[in-house]
């Protein structure tokens, strides 16, 4: 974990309000693992609004070029300011944060489920697993065709993938979770990695309930420090005794056993 100021090599528009930012950073490329994130200062020097850093999953690492990237949606003022940055500008961030995913490499089959911008951490997971010759099925669900741009990235991997859009404007029509629900018995030996909006993760919990499925969710929570010091990013986790305790998404997560997470 290091505080870095690095050069932006590209800040490419991937869709409406959707950008991929490529950043030169040997340190991140050397030290970051799938499932980790960085936290970016979005405001200019001397300006305190917005003040807090913004967390983004590491979307891709291209070790050979010392380049990593984040894929982000413009939501509020922080991401809006990020979207204004240009090639050659410097970006101030800290990373890698959170825990890299501890893959269970005994398994051979992996099912990744991403909803919306939740696909961001799944791409690097896909790359890691496919490079280990694992069988990866990537199921992505979107509202519409806005995320179509990511297909060109998926095509670069050896993963199988299926894209669903709610409005049917791209890929298959329907909800990714409906597909999972219908086919859950086919995949119950797979290792699951899920990331997406709370409603999607809740639906998946329901689908997995009572089944012996090993599923990891990569979750979001609003953060202040990003490094485990403030207790701000708490999320309820049911421990073995059924008690709910609060864990920090930034330091204890961001991946948890999906069945243990309390989404409110």
């Amino acid at each position: 974990m290091k505080l870095l100021k690095e050069e932006i090599l590209n800040n490419e528009k991937y869709g409406e309000n959707l950008y991929k930012m490529e950043i030169f950073s040997p340190y991140i490329c050397r030290n970051a693992g799938a499932g980790q994130f960085i936290s970016v200062k979005c405001s200019r020097e001397k300006i305190f609004d917005p003040m807090l850093r913004r967390p983004f999953s590491i979307y891709d690492i291209e070790k050979e070029f010392n380049v990593f990237s984040i894929l982000y949606l413009v939501k509020g003022r922080g991401t809006y300011l990020l979207s204004l940055l240009k090639k050659g500008d410097t970006v101030d961030f800290i990373g890698p944060l959170g825990n890299p995913i501890a893959f269970n490499m005994n398994s051979n089959d992996y099912l990744l489920i991403g909803g919306g911008i939740g696909i961001a951490p799944l791409y690097l997971i896909t790359k890691v697993l496919t490079s280990e010759k694992k069988n990866v099925l990537f199921i992505a669900g979107f509202k519409n065709s806005n995320f179509a741009g990511i297909e060109k990235d998926l095509l670069k991997t050896k993963a199988y993938y299926k894209i669903f859009t709610e409005d049917g404007s791209y890929g298959n029509s329907g909800l990714a979770t409906d597909f999972i629900k219908e086919n859950i018995n086919k995949y119950n030996k797979y290792q699951f990695y899920c990331c997406g909006p709370v409603d999607m993760l809740k639906a998946l919990q329901e689908i997995f309930l009572g089944k012996k499925i090993s599923a990891t969710a990569i979750v979001e929570q609003r953060m202040a420090c990003g490094i485990g010091a403030c207790m701000g990013c708490a999320i309820g986790i049911k421990n073995e005794d059924g008690e709910i305790i609060y864990k920090r998404v930034c330091k204890d997560g961001p991946s948890f056993n999906i069945m243990e997470v309390i989404f409110d």
């Binding site: 305190f48 003040m51 807090l52 953060m223 202040a224 403030c230 207790m231 990013c233 309820g236 609060y246």
Partner: protein, 316 residues
């Protein structure tokens, strides 16, 4: 100037000696471990621990953080492992880092503060001071309620002082009117406190209008950060004019310029809170900035600027 030609930065708040006036605020620096990744935290004037309660506390329902214009709302609710865990697990680690410690305590009643003090009494290693958090807006019992009752401030201070012979700092709230704040400070002094920490966060809230619900699980939270700096500075100035006790001034300090403003208005030391979440090395930067400022003005001792703009009787 001293031999090294650097201005003197050490300050005294009653019995509390700080090598420099830069203190980390409770709850924003954990126990320093995370920050020691970035710099040697023993260079700080002191670090204030998270507020510890007798038993471990779960804290409030998430979400606990919402960012506002130049400010941060939090409703952590004093999540902590409990004082025993602090003494056994955390304290040794802080001591390894050679940091000077102010131990923040939180109790829901006078009795609980007494029990906390009994626990703290067992600590063998050196602790600079204990800080009584009588001003947290994020808990139902105790907290802010205490410092709106000056007589309770005195009672709690007395019961802690009866047990501990470590200096006591009382942390007050900006959410009471100035009259009560001043009265509480006087009562803290009567009770034997050495200094006042001012300010804790201001009660605030925010709403998600899309989903028609509060942004914080707890509805109300505490506002900190640059947004509150002018308010904090006014509180420090107002209390400084009363000449009751030395003060650690805090609220929105992000740069050395901010720190100097607080010193000029009467803070004997300054606390850095929210800024730690963004600029992980801000503590060091502010120490250097204050020192350079003094040098640029040819002032050989930070004590010479403390309270220069208030009616404070400057403590030599």
């Amino acid at each position: 100037m001293t031999e090294s030609n650097k201005p003197n930065l050490s300050v005294r708040l009653g019995e509390i000696n700080l090598k420099n006036p830069i203190v980390m605020c409770s709850g924003t620096f954990a126990n320093g471990l995370e920050y020691s990744n970035f710099y040697d935290i023993s260079e700080l004037g002191a670090i204030t621990t998270k507020s510890y309660s007798l038993k471990c506390k779960d804290g409030n329902k998430p979400p606990r953080i919402w960012e506002t214009a130049c400010g941060v709302l939090n409703s952590i609710g004093l999540q902590n492992d409990g004082i025993e865990s602090f003494i056994n697990d955390h304290l040794p680690k802080i001591k390894d880092m050679n940091a000077d410690i102010i131990l923040s305590l939180f109790g829901e009643s006078c009795e609980e503060f007494r029990e906390l003090a009994l626990a703290v009494k067992k600590i063998k290693t050196n602790i600079l001071a204990v800080e009584l958090n009588l001003s947290c807006p994020n808990v139902e019992k105790g907290g802010m309620i205490f410092c709106s009752m000056p007589e309770v401030v005195e009672k709690i201070t007395i019961s802690v002082k009866e047990i501990l012979n470590i200096p006591v700092i009382v942390k007050l709230s900006p959410n009471t009117g100035d009259t009560i704040m001043i009265e509480s400070a006087k009562r803290a002094k009567n009770g034997g406190a050495e200094a006042i920490s001012l300010i804790n966060t201001l009660v605030g809230t925010a709403v998600d209008i899309e989903n028609i619900k509060p942004r914080l699980g707890n509805v109300l939270g505490g506002l900190s950060g640059p947004a509150i700096k002018p308010i904090a500075l006014a509180k420090v100035y107002t209390l400084s004019n009363e000449n009751i006790l030395p003060m650690i001034g805090m609220g929105g300090i992000c740069t050395w310029n901010d720190a100097v403003e607080f010193l000029l208005m009467g803070a004997n030391a300054i606390g850095i809170g929210t800024a730690n979440f963004v600029e992980y090395c801000v503590g060091l930067k502010i120490i250097k900035g204050v020192s350079d400022y003094l040098e640029s003005k040819d002032i050989d001792d930070v004590n010479k600027i403390i309270g220069k703009l208030s009616n404070k009787q400057i403590i030599k």
